[in-house]
């Protein structure tokens, strides 16, 4: 009897050992992709923010402007949870979904059975949670106190001042682990917490003792550099930089690219379940082609993908044709004054074979102009705006390469609005630049709310009426009417004045008029600083905590709460939808002002470049994918509305409104003159009277033009 019991026990042990071995084998071999079906996020169709997966494979997806929604792994929508629109990070722990409520700045727990939400912690004072992870009996939160307060370090390291909190879900106790320089965390299936950090001038993988709270370095991973998210299972380190997902076998140091080009923003967007990497990201070179995907956002083409490519699908055929990459031709150095994350260089590479090498551009236009005039050959293409000092200098000195020889660019110019085509033309008649994107600030409003508050649309037409309107808008409660970036609003009004009444090219400038005097007084004597409606407390400012009240960025796109707002077209198009919105031009100074000012970005070729032909080909390639080269912006350059059909919802009335505004836009051209901020400061602190301030502005303008 005892012998049989022993044999039975041995059998069980062998079986158990066999199971664990097979798990390891799964991980050791190719990443196995289960046959999940395509799931379309449809209720509401907007951008996926983050997600978590329960052990049985259900997806809990948080959508921008929407609710936490649970889908079965076959795409069946199971349930929407109420009161979850303020969540920004989620994780599964012990049968509940734990989330970070961005408004209350607390960790809460959602009971998936009845949808009840329970507060777990007190206020964490974190603007952003990069990752919530469940390891052992604790939940770990990688928090960023202030997103905009970051430092750039060596080797590509970006220090957001992350704090790793350990939260006891039972007691709500929050402990700062005092671990620093953490970039990403991951709670593995072995119950341990791992983190990737930059310390002692090197990137490395560490483990964090969930019991003793002590860290130990596991692997030096300095070759990888800065990443956004990772998974560590069975000695496989699967990570995402901003271009691809790579699986690194740490035991033999072999690497495999799982997916590219894809942008995964942070740890909330990548996880692991039973041998599968589940991630959600932005495909940067598949604008319209869609693989079989795990989660698909039909509006934004952002999805989590763990499935195989289905070759029979028509769209996948398109994708296969699309990905026939051109032969590699070389590389072009592009100087950009912002992060390269916003540029889809892979799409240009795919269609032209030209790789992009990014060079960070000095934000000081004069320094860049000096660089060009000094004959810097290291940059092939500069990106700037035609209204900038740099562009003015380039045009006046003739330091650009003429694009006249390119029929492709000439045709592109013919498709643009007339004023954009004019901006593309230098005084010599040459085409000097290629426009890349266009944006403008306009008034967005919700018709139902306008009616509710008895607002006449005519009140948005002129500045005086608009200011009176803003005075009577509610300051508290659930509705808001506001101006995003009041400083920009004021400067835009100055632009209107300059473009209507001043002519810098002919040196005719007059600020000593009653109109400008009145405008200056209205803007700088208090409306910007003190107006109660220049910023509604409902809306969070990225730079201040207006009057000590918490605000929520997500409400900015909430149709149920916004009455009207002055905001950019690009932000709305990228962060939300046009459905339910209408658009008006920004208020005008008076009836002499006929057009809305617009900002466009453009690219021109450096005359000292050694790769001028390749740079020209690069620009020609951009013209083939004008909507995809630049992320998080809008491209409203073209006369033909049908050109926008694939990218924007042109059936929406709001789109028609936008089109009509930008059709008659104007690009500011001050030739580099700006009103001195010191004059504004001295006026605001009482050292200068209004007349003295205006006189000084006039004096400076005259000196600038005539010295």
């Amino acid at each position: 009897m005892r012998r049989y019991m022993l044999y039975g026990l041995l059998l069980i042990i062998i079986l158990l050992a066999g199971c664990s071995t097979s798990d390891k084998k799964d991980a050791e071999g190719d990443v196995k992709l289960p046959s999940f079906q395509k799931i379309t996020v449809s209720n509401p169709a907007s951008e996926v923010v983050t997600f978590t997966v329960s052990p049985d494979g259900n997806l809990y997806i948080l959508e921008a402007g929407g609710l936490l929604t649970v889908y079965k792994n076959d795409g069946t929508l199971m349930h929407e949870y109420e009161n979850t629109s303020d969540f920004i990070a989620v994780c599964w722990h012990d049968g509940m979904v734990y989330a970070y409520d961005a408004v209350k700045q607390q960790i809460v727990a959602l009971d998936t059975k009845d949808g009840s939400i329970k507060k777990i912690t007190d206020e964490l004072k974190a603007e952003e949670i990069l990752k919530l992870a469940s390891a052992g009996e604790y939940i770990y939160a990688l928090a960023v106190p202030e997103v905009h307060n970051y430092e750039l370090g060596p080797n590509g390291y970006i220090n957001f001042g992350e704090i790793l909190y350990r939260i006891n879900p039972k007691t709500g106790e929050v402990i700062d682990t005092n671990e620093t320089n953490i970039i990403a965390i991951y709670a593995a299936s072995d119950g341990k917490l791992y983190y990737y950090a930059y310390r002692d001038d090197a990137y490395a993988l560490y483990t964090f003792g969930t019991k003793d709270g002590k860290s130990a370095k596991l692997y030096n991973l300095d070759d990888i550099g800065y990443i956004t998210a990772f998974v560590y299972e069975n000695d496989y380190f699967i990570y995402s930089d901003h271009e691809k997902v790579v699986m690194l076998n740490l035991s033999d140091n072999t690497e495999k690219v799982i997916e590219e080009p894809i942008l995964i923003l942070c740890g909330n967007d990548m996880t692991f379940l039973k041998g599968n990497i589940i991630y959600f990201g932005y495909y940067t070179d598949k604008p319209n082609a869609i693989n079989s995907v795990y989660i698909e956002d039909i509006n934004r083409n952002s999805h989590a993908d763990i499935s195989d490519i289905d070759n029979d699908d028509k769209k996948n055929k398109e994708y296969k044709e699309f990905i026939e990459a051109a032969e590699e031709k070389g590389s072009v150095a592009v100087s950009i004054p912002f992060s390269k994350v916003y540029i889809n260089s892979s799409i240009v590479k795919r269609i032209s074979g030209i790789k992009t090498v990014f060079i960070s551009q000095n934000i000081d236009n004069q320094a860049v102009l000096t660089e060009i005039m000094a004959g810097n050959p290291d940059v092939d293409i500069y990106i700037t705006t035609p209204a900038s000092y740099l562009a003015e200098g380039v045009l006046s000195k003739g330091i650009y390469v003429s694009l006249n020889n390119s029929e492709i660019i000439k045709n592109y110019k013919d498709k643009c609005f007339d004023y954009i085509a004019d901006a593309m033309t230098a005084p010599s008649g040459d085409i000097w630049m290629l426009p890349l994107q266009l944006d403008s600030y306009v008034i967005w409003y919700i018709p139902e709310n306008i009616e509710k508050f008895d607002i006449d649309l005519e009140e948005f037409r002129y500045l005086d009426d608009f200011l009176k309107l803003s005075e009577r808008m509610p300051r508290t409660g659930n509705y808001a009417a506001y101006v995003e970036t009041p400083y920009l609003f004021a400067r835009s009004l100055e632009d209107q004045y300059d473009m209507t009444y001043n002519n810098f090219k002919e040196k005719k400038v007059n600020y000593e008029t009653p109109l400008f005097r009145d405008l200056f007084d209205k803007m700088w004597s208090g409306w910007i600083m003190y107006s109660p409606n220049s910023r509604h407390p409902l809306f969070r400012s990225s730079h201040d905590d207006y009057k000590g009240e918490l605000m929520e960025e997500s409400a900015r796109f909430d149709k149920t709460r916004v009455i009207y707002k002055y905001d950019s077209i690009g932000e709305q198009l990228n962060m939300s939808s046009l459905d339910g919105w209408r658009v008006l031009p920004m208020p005008r100074l008076n009836s002499d002002v006929k057009k809305n000012s617009v900002n466009i970005s453009c690219a021109f070729i450096n005359p000292h470049s050694k790769n001028k032909e390749l740079a020209l080909e690069y620009l020609e390639a951009i013209t083939k994918v004008p909507f995809d080269y630049w992320s998080y912006t809008c491209v409203l350059l073209f006369k033909d509305k049908e050109m926008y059909a694939d990218r924007y919802d042109i059936t929406q009335p709001a789109f028609e409104d936008i089109y009509n505004i930008v059709k008659d836009g104007m690009i500011n051209s001050r030739c580099g003159f700006y009103i001195n901020g010191n004059i504004i400061d001295d006026y605001q602190n009482g050292r200068l009277t209004l007349d003295e301030a205006i006189a000084l502005i006039q004096r400076e303008a005259e000196m600038w033009l005539n010295e």
């Binding site: 580099g672 009482g686 010295e707």
Partner: protein, 279 residues
């Protein structure tokens, strides 16, 4: 032969210095002069004296030049008077207090930005701002004059005290025996003897007066200060910022010519004065 070899040796030893002079002064100066005769650095069309005509005809250039010359003459004059008066006092001090000469030199060693920071604490207030607005050119530029004198008096004091302490005692004694004292002694005996040093100090002060742009720019905090403070360096700097190298080159060429004329006049007067004194 030896003479020739000696000259060659001397020339060889001068080469490093000459090379630096050519590379860092002559060549840039020549290039700058060339810029003043072309339309811009890209098209490089020779335009003869058109740029000079344009610059000389520009009222802001004339304003800047006038302000520069006024500041130089008034500032140098005041500086010389202050330095001489302090030197006369320091020379009479006991040896134990000679360290005080060094104290006057300290302002020159201080970083400009720190100095301006302190200057603004003193002058950047509502009362002075009101004076500056309504006052004349002197009040508007008073901080710069004070700063210039405070910063540059140290070097002058050292040179002048050295000259004063080396005056031949017997001449002074002889003059005193003849009943010449006080102001007359200073005017007819001391001044003529220290004239060469005075001229040198004057030229040095003049050159330093042209370097006041840094302090002025930091103090006023703008490319377009009040009219009285707008000097030639502002004009040149603004054109540099706009990459109008032809205007910049013209302005610097004109300024260089005017300064060369002034300095050569000073030397002529100095030589004449020195002759008269020797006679």
């Amino acid at each position: 032969m030896n003479n020739k070899r000696f000259k060659l040796k001397v020339f060889a030893l001068c080469i490093p210095g000459l090379a630096g002079f050519i590379m860092f002064f002559l060549w840039p100066f020549g290039k700058s002069l060339w810029y003043s005769f072309i339309d811009d650095v890209f098209h490089k069309n020779f335009v003869w004296f058109d740029n000079y005509r344009m610059v000389l005809g520009n009222r802001y250039f004339r304003l800047a030049l006038r302000n520069t010359l006024i500041f130089s003459f008034v500032g140098v004059g005041l500086l010389l008077i202050v330095s001489l008066a302090l030197s006369m006092g320091l020379v009479r001090l006991d040896r134990r207090y000679h360290f005080m000469k060094s104290a006057f030199f300290l302002p020159m060693l201080l970083p400009t930005v720190s100095v301006i920071f302190a200057w603004r604490l003193v002058f950047d207030n509502d009362v002075y701002f009101a004076w500056m607005k309504d006052g004349g050119p002197l009040l508007q530029t008073l901080p710069i004059y004070v700063l210039y004198i405070w910063k540059n008096s140290g070097v002058n004091i050292i040179l002048l005290t050295a000259a004063l302490s080396q005056l031949p005692g017997e001449i002074i004694e002889a003059a005193e025996l003849d009943g010449v004292r006080g102001l007359k002694l200073f005017r007819y005996v001391t001044m003529p003897l220290i004239t060469p040093v005075m001229f040198f100090v004057g030229i040095l002060s003049f050159v330093n007066s042209l370097k006041i742009f840094k302090e002025s720019y930091l103090f006023y905090g703008t490319n377009y200060p009040l009219d009285a403070a707008y000097n030639i360096q502002y004009y040149m700097n603004n054109h540099f910022l706009k990459f109008n190298y032809h205007n910049l080159a013209c302005a610097s060429a004109i300024a260089a010519i005017i300064l060369a004329i002034i300095i050569s006049l000073i030397y002529k007067i100095q030589n004449k004065f020195t002759e008269d004194v020797s006679i």
